[in-house]
Symmetry: C2
Subunit: 172 residues, 2 copies
Amino acid sequence: MENRALILLGILMAQSQHGYQIHEFIERNLSNITDMKKATAYATLDKLSKEGYVDVHTEQEGNRPPRKVYTINDKGRSYFLTLLRGNLSLAGSMYYPGDIGVMFLDHLPTEEVVECLKGRLHQLEGMIEWHKKAPRHGKGKGVDLAIEHQLVMITAEHDWLTIVIERLKEDI
Amino acid sequence: MENRALILLGILMAQSQHGYQIHEFIERNLSNITDMKKATAYATLDKLSKEGYVDVHTEQEGNRPPRKVYTINDKGRSYFLTLLRGNLSLAGSMYYPGDIGVMFLDHLPTEEVVECLKGRLHQLEGMIEWHKKAPRHGKGKGVDLAIEHQLVMITAEHDWLTIVIERLKEDI
DNA sequence: TTTTCCATGTAACTCGTTACATGATTTC
DNA sequence: GAAATCATGTAACGAGTTACATGGAAAA
């Protein structure tokens, strides 16, 4: 919830926009940090305006459907900064879903485990490629830093997996 | 949902147990891979039995409250292995909530960002300590591997954060 | 002319959490 | 005698997703 608000307010900090536009921006440029869906974006935007963090006014261009343009206000900016500080200060205690399988890997023959993990590894390599050719648009340090961070984490995962696979192979 | 089932079935693969016991095990030993709550555990166990993956029978010791003991059956074992293979094969595309803040860090003065990130770093150091003295109970490779993995990931995050903070300090 | 794009929204649903209810029994 | 432990469960709620409805305009 708070993270969704932080994302939306952060987008509005750059410029006033309408819901459709915001949702498109999320899908196009923020696909690696959130999977927020259209309905959620619209609803949260609505809630944010009811709570007085953003102002709304309706625009219409020619005969196109009317747009609800959201503009962050002073209260919103201050709320945004609070959320931002909180997010930056907190090392979110993560749960890696992949660790569940690892924890129970003794129930499968080692050969099969190795095969499965090789699949995982292959996907990670795809992700690394994707991140390496992701556009660095110096639009500010932040965006590029976030991509760099993800590349670092995926690479760490990749390297660890490689070692684990090697270690398991010795056990066969 | 599937992950919850995988965890519960995995626990039952070791031995038949009743709900209370299972929930305690999760809180005591699995706190680093899941935060599954009591109500969720009970409900999922119930669902698993209705779907025919586990058998249930009621036991009673003296005058203590009756226990519902869950035992995994053939169908359950086969389902467990399917879930396990799926989990091991899939590199879950992760979203790091901390990246949201990083992405918008340009909206805060660099000094303040550095202060916030230092807080994050400090928490990470605590987590690293915790993991280093976590008991290695050679109960099978899996459990230890999962802990090792988490240590690797937290360390990667730590090292990256350290570098980023240094880099930001130069900008002040 | 059928599909896609623009733009917003709602209703039904799923998953999971919180907070409570029960009742005996052991511990302080 | 009060509090914690054992053991299960339910009801209410919250967050988010899916799938749909609308209707004009541009593109294929």
